[in-house]
């Protein structure tokens, strides 16, 4: 083997700084991040169930937290993460059976998870708020 062939340049991976972000990439990262958020969010669900199993006082403390601005942001974010991870998961299941795996379809599906999850979250939020207004 000559020296020349050993120093021949090898193919380079795409460079992170000059790599254009595409929507399937961003939604792939978002799928993982929402997974982590839901993982940590189970602590709030656990708090809710334990407060419910304990007594009215503990439940009031939990409700005060969820009614606060921080609580509302966490709840809204949690519901969005649920919808986003659910739609992203359905996308993965479709790919598993070989559907819409070509590039244009994958991009459309990625947009659908973003728009769909945001739309569903707003719809769920409005449904909750209007129910609250109607109920005594």
């Amino acid at each position: 083997m000559s020296v020349r062939s050993r120093v021949r340049s090898r193919p380079l991976s795409p460079h992170l700084q000059i790599y254009r972000l595409t929507i399937p990439m961003v939604m792939s990262i978002a799928h993982r991040l929402t997974g982590v958020a839901l993982y940590l969010g189970t602590l709030v669900v656990t708090w809710w169930l334990i407060a419910l199993a304990s007594n009215a006082n503990s439940y009031a403390v939990f409700q005060d937290f969820l009614g606060s601005w921080l609580g509302r942001i966490i709840l809204f974010g949690y519901i969005w993460a649920l919808f986003h991870h659910m739609l992203g998961g359905i996308r993965h299941l479709l790919w598993d059976i070989g559907l819409w795996i070509d590039l244009p379809a994958a991009s459309r599906l990625a947009w659908a998870t973003l728009i769909g999850s945001t739309g569903l979250t707003v719809a769920a939020w409005i449904a909750g708020q209007s129910l609250r207004a109607v109920l005594p």
Partner: protein
């Protein structure tokens, strides 16, 4: 070369891998289960907004709601454990740290699952 391998090794058919597609498949099965269960959970959340302690307890004490919640907790705990395991295996390369994280992940998921089920059962079975 195959002479070096035990019949059991050949029967498992995994070659040099330590495990097969069980986790992949479990992730899909729990994912499918989570879809209807999560939608029902969200419907419960919407129904519970602004309701007081007694009403909330009555909802969760309903057998249908309690069973849905227990199913969601079981499916969700397995799903989140596998998902976090994949993330740990992807990003943590130091073996000791990885082992600690993997054990912590299993313990956290099991704890969340058991505590949630305990809460639902305590409300559902009335105590």
């Amino acid at each position: 070369m195959t002479g070096m391998r035990t019949p059991r090794h050949r029967a498992r058919g995994l070659g040099a891998a330590r495990s097969g597609t069980a986790h992949f498949w479990m992730q899909r099965v729990t994912a499918i289960a989570n879809i209807p269960l999560t939608l029902l959970f969200l419907a419960l959340l919407i129904a519970l907004i602004g309701s007081d302690y007694g009403v909330a307890r009555a909802y969760v004490a309903n057998p249908f709601v309690a069973i849905i919640l227990v199913l969601l907790v079981i499916s969700g705990a397995f799903h989140m454990r596998i998902g976090m395991q994949v993330i740990i295996e992807d990003y943590i390369h130091s073996l000791p740290v990885k082992m600690i994280c993997l054990a912590g992940n299993t313990l956290f998921s099991a704890m969340i699952g058991v505590v949630c089920i305990y809460g639902v059962l305590r409300v559902g079975l009335g105590s």
